[in-house]
């Protein structure tokens, strides 16, 4: 048995022997469903029996009281209407309002004075009382009381039925040619099978419910496995064994994942037994139905969540010093996970939206859709991948946390952690851009329509991107010339940009069309709507170019090809650097269909900075790229129906190749730049 397997067996053995975990993680959830169903049934049955047997008391008030009393009497006697719950009794009182407030009365029927312009005079009824002026009937009830609500619904139903019957008889008496009750009859029919309605509910609640199970069960395992080891003093014993740090993390992670999955499996089977296979009779109007393949698919979708939860819990457990601190950190984690998983409950959260990219939330929506029988494989894959990627990153982070000496040392042995500054910046830059993305996403969601195009661009580019860049430059004491690559590029770089920008734009369009045709079909309406937002702004051309070409070209380059690229350049090789900068840039263009083309543009611009060691060509390239996209459409030279010939794409690819050949041929090596900088600053230092 390998050391990793030995550790895993040991972890599982200790977890299984933890009675708290068995009780809270397995026994209690297993009992929840049958108890919940039994209680629901009991409550449902008991409530309907009590309402059927109830005596509903009502009082009649108002200036048209006699008319109202007579109307209610006829409505209660009108047998053609819906069934009445219980029995209705009038109570004569001077204090109807007070009695309704304390629950002695269930209903007040008020024969009120109506506005003669709005309220039709009630029809005279044979032998009935007729008010002397316009009148209306008000039903006062208390919504928080089941009995009061039932009384209102029952009486209102009878009154409506009575009104319909009397209207018909008036029409008949007036010689209406056909039976009035046959005219424009509205009969609502529910086309959905009862299982579909049940599944809709199940789809909304399944992911948050499963997450809760994973988090509660997993937390017991996680708190015991690292912070518990710290508190007990067993961690140092473990860290001084022949196990590698990676083995320790994987062994523990595997144990928590297995536990999480065991909990999910046990509870899923439990859920299916009651909801789908009907081991216990469900309350009326509640039915569910899931195909076995969908159950499997849901479990597959939940796999990255299990790893993600396990890694997050293990990371938290590794970072805190004991049980108490774990508890403090656990609740925000719990809230965060459950809030994200509840994305499926948000109205309008549809497939093919950017939510697929948001870990956990994407899975929540994906599970909902699968439970409803929809299988959008692209969305499912993207959602699975985004959560899986975050899980993978968290596992890596957890491994690194376990390797840090703080785990046993109690102090930090990392100078950069304490002193901050430029050495810490490369480790923090992605974290800051993740925060920036969250703020950007939220503001776009909530303020987009309010601010309008110019306001939104100003907020995003000037406040968010530039503000964050400036704050990061200050906070980490960075040399802004170095970070933003503010150097003159080789002259030939300008030639490369003039060739590369239109060529790059066209290849980007080609890529978008390819994706649209073969990978991610985007409805025409979405593309047109996006084009309308960009072009039908009513802005003059110069403003359009300023807001959509020049400002993005300057401010986005400062943030992405400046600050972000500088931070990542310390950790990544050039190719990975360009792809990473491109990917982050793409993620900031949150519409799903724009992400890959803009990521492509971002990677191209990053490559230009790598080769020229200057941000200026990237700025011009970006400005030209956006201008090429805007101007022809603005003047109507091209529209949505314009098809670009295939050879144009071929020429564009060649043009892009030529541009990069020039950039490569006249590239500036990092060493040369530093020496050039030294030479430039040498005179000053000598003086």
């Amino acid at each position: 048995m390998s050391p990793l397997a030995t550790l895993f067996r040991n972890e599982i053995r200790m977890l299984v022997r933890d009675t708290r975990m068995i009780l809270i993680g397995i026994v209690l959830p297993l009992m929840v469903f049958p108890v919940l169903i039994l209680v629901l049934r009991m409550v449902d049955r008991g409530e309907s029996e009590r309402i059927q047997a109830a005596v509903f008391t009502y009082a009649v008030t108002g200036p048209h009281g006699p008319w109202a009393r007579e109307l209610v009497g006829r409505a209660l006697a009108h047998e053609a209407g819906p069934d009445l719950p219980g029995r209705f009794e009038e109570r004569v009182t001077e204090h109807a309002d007070s009695l309704l407030a304390v629950g002695t009365l269930h209903l007040i029927v008020e024969g009120a004075e109506g506005d003669p312009e709005d309220v039709a005079r009630p029809p005279p009824s044979p032998g009935g009382a007729t008010p002397s002026s316009s009148a209306l009937l008000r039903l006062h009830y208390r919504a928080q009381s089941d009995f009061s609500r039932a009384a209102r619904a029952g009486l209102q139903g009878r009154l409506t039925a009575l009104r319909a019957a009397e209207r018909d008889s008036v029409l008949d008496a007036a010689g209406f040619p056909v039976s009035a009750s046959d005219v424009a009859t509205v009969i609502p029919t529910n086309a959905a099978a009862p299982e579909r309605e049940g599944n809709a509910l199940l789809g909304l609640a399944l992911t948050p419910f499963v997450l809760l199970l994973m988090l509660t069960g997993g937390s017991i395992a996680a708190v015991d496995t690292l912070s518990g080891e710290k508190e007990r003093g067993t961690l140092e014993s473990l860290l001084t064994t022949g196990l590698s740090r990676t083995d320790i993390v994987r062994g523990k992670l595997l144990a928590i994942v297995c536990l999480g999955f065991a909990l999910v499996l046990v509870n899923t089977v439990n859920l299916l037994l009651y909801l789908v296979f009907g081991v216990l009779e469900l309350p009326p109007h509640l039915a569910f139905g899931l195909a076995p393949v969908d159950v499997g698919l849901v479990l597959l979708l939940l796999t990255p969540l299990a790893v993600l939860v396990a890694a997050a819990l293990l990371l938290l457990s590794g970072r805190v010093d004991g049980y108490k601190e774990f508890q403090i950190g656990f609740f925000p984690l719990l809230l965060g996970f459950v809030a994200l998983s509840a994305a499926a409950m948000m109205p309008g959260m549809d497939l093919r939206s950017v939510i697929a990219l948001v870990p956990v939330a994407g899975i929540g929506v994906a599970v909902r859709e699968v439970v409803l029988g929809k299988h959008d494989w692209l969305f499912l894959t993207v959602a699975w991948t985004s959560s899986g990627t975050l899980a993978w990153l968290l596992v890596g982070l957890t491994e690194r946390t376990l390797s840090t000496e703080r785990l046993v040392g109690g102090a930090t042995f990392d100078e950069a952690e304490v002193r901050g500054g430029p050495d810490l910046f490369p480790r923090r830059v992605l974290r800051w851009f993740a925060v920036l993305w969250a703020v950007f996403f939220t503001t776009s969601l909530w303020l987009g329509d309010t601010l309008g195009l110019r306001g939104q661009i100003f907020l995003n580019l000037v406040v968010l991107f530039s503000g964050t860049s400036f704050l990061l430059l200050r906070a980490y004491r960075l040399d802004w010339r170095e970070v933003l690559s503010l150097r003159a590029p080789p002259r030939m770089a300008w030639v490369a940009v003039l060739i590369g920008a239109p060529a790059g734009y066209l290849t980007g369009v080609g890529l978008a069309e390819f994706l649209n045709a073969y990978v991610l079909p985007i409805p025409e309406s979405v593309l047109e709507a996006f084009g309308d937002v960009m072009l039908d702004t009513g802005l003059p051309l110069w403003q359009l170019l300023l807001f959509l070409a020049v400002m993005p070209g300057v401010f986005e380059e400062i943030a992405f090809r400046g600050v972000l690229q500088h931070g990542l350049s310390k950790r990544l090789r050039p190719l990975a650097l360009c792809l990473a900068v491109g990917a982050v840039f793409g993620l900031f263009h949150v519409a799903l269909f724009r992400i890959i083309p803009t990521a492509y543009l971002g990677a191209v611009l990053a490559a230009s900075v790598v080769l020229t060691r200057s941000i200026y060509p990237a700025m011009l390239w970006h400005i030209l790229n956006n201008s090429v996209a805007l101007v022809p459409a603005r003047f109507g030279w091209i529209d949505a129906d314009t098809s670009i010939p295939g050879r144009a794409y071929g020429i564009a690819v060649v043009g892009l190749g030529v541009a990069f050949w020039i950039l490569w041929r006249f590239r500036v090596e990092p060493r040369r730049t530093r020496s050039a900088d030294r030479a430039a600053g040498g005179d000053a230092s000598r003086t």
Binding site: M1, P3, T6, L7, N10, R13, M14, R17, D18, R232, G233, T234, E236, S237, L239, T240, T241, G242, L243, S244, E405, V408, G409, A411, T412, F413, D414, E415, E417, V418, R419
Partner: protein, 257 residues
């Protein structure tokens, strides 16, 4: 398990620096040089905060040296940390046992994760149970044992994989007299088996009785290294406590650790 390396510990110029907000740079270990040979108990004697535990944690690869180097059983602590850890047993007063495992499971776990030959693990466990008189408790869970028995199990798990090098970091803290005597007896026995043992303590009589050579440590440095007789000859003092104080005063001791 036969040692496949040199069986000794070599420490040259070992340093460890860390940073704390408000305090800035702190040199926990400021350049240590010593060797511990097979069949020897090398004592690290120092007050609390002298840097003993940091030094031992670097040897156990829990901490990375800031500079200098050290080898355990011929393996470099920087480049071959897993081989180093498989070559040593680390025991300290602060280390504990898994409460929900039995004594047998505990020994099995530590033998296997330290890559003791799988086919010999059962035999090794029986030997240890017999040696530490734990046979009748073999299948009892650790959490029901007395503290003296736990101490025995803890030492047994330290040597479960029969490592050539053993590190004892203030092992007698919190022990009563009987258990402390038993601990010393076990340490001497392990030394006689040819183990290289580093024994850190701030208890002077314990160092006198257990250690073959003693290094007096203060503020992350070794002030003097030698046998008890060599320390006596050099200082002209008889008791280790007096020798310790004399060395500290010579180094400009001002009351701070």
């Amino acid at each position: 398990m036969k040692p496949n390396g040199t069986g000794d510990v070599q420490v040259v110029g070992l340093q460890k620096t860390f940073w704390e907000r408000g305090r800035g740079e702190i040199r926990a270990v400021a350049g240590m040089d010593f060797t511990c040979h097979p069949g020897e108990v090398f004592g690290l004697l120092g007050a609390n905060g002298a840097g003993k535990t940091t030094t031992l944690r670097m040897l156990a690869t829990v901490l990375q040296p800031t500079s200098g180097w050290a080898t355990v059983n011929g393996h470099d602590v920087r480049t071959a940390p897993e081989k180093v850890r498989r070559s040593l047993g680390f025991h300290s007063a602060s280390t504990a046992l898994y409460p929900r495992l039995t004594v047998r499971e505990t020994l099995d776990f530590f033998a296997r994760v330290n890559r003791y030959p799988a086919d010999a693990v059962e035999e090794r466990i029986e030997t240890l149970l017999d040696r530490f008189a734990l046979g009748s408790y073999a299948d009892a869970r650790v959490d029901v044992l007395s503290s003296g028995m736990k101490q025995k199990v803890s030492i047994a798990r330290t040597v479960a994989h029969d490592p050539p090098v053993l590190i004892f970091d203030e092992p007698s803290v919190g022990l009563d007299v009987v258990n402390a005597l038993e601990l010393r007896r076990i340490v001497r026995e392990l030394r006689d088996q040819g183990k290289a043992i580093i024994f850190s303590t701030h208890v002077m009589p314990e160092a006198e009785r257990v250690c073959d050579r003693i290094g007096i440590m203060h503020r992350g440095r070794l002030l003097a290294v030698g046998t008890l007789e060599q320390h006596r000859d050099r200082t002209g003092l008889h008791y280790l406590e007096d020798i310790f104080v004399a060395e500290l005063e010579r180094a400009g001791y001002d009351g701070a650790p």
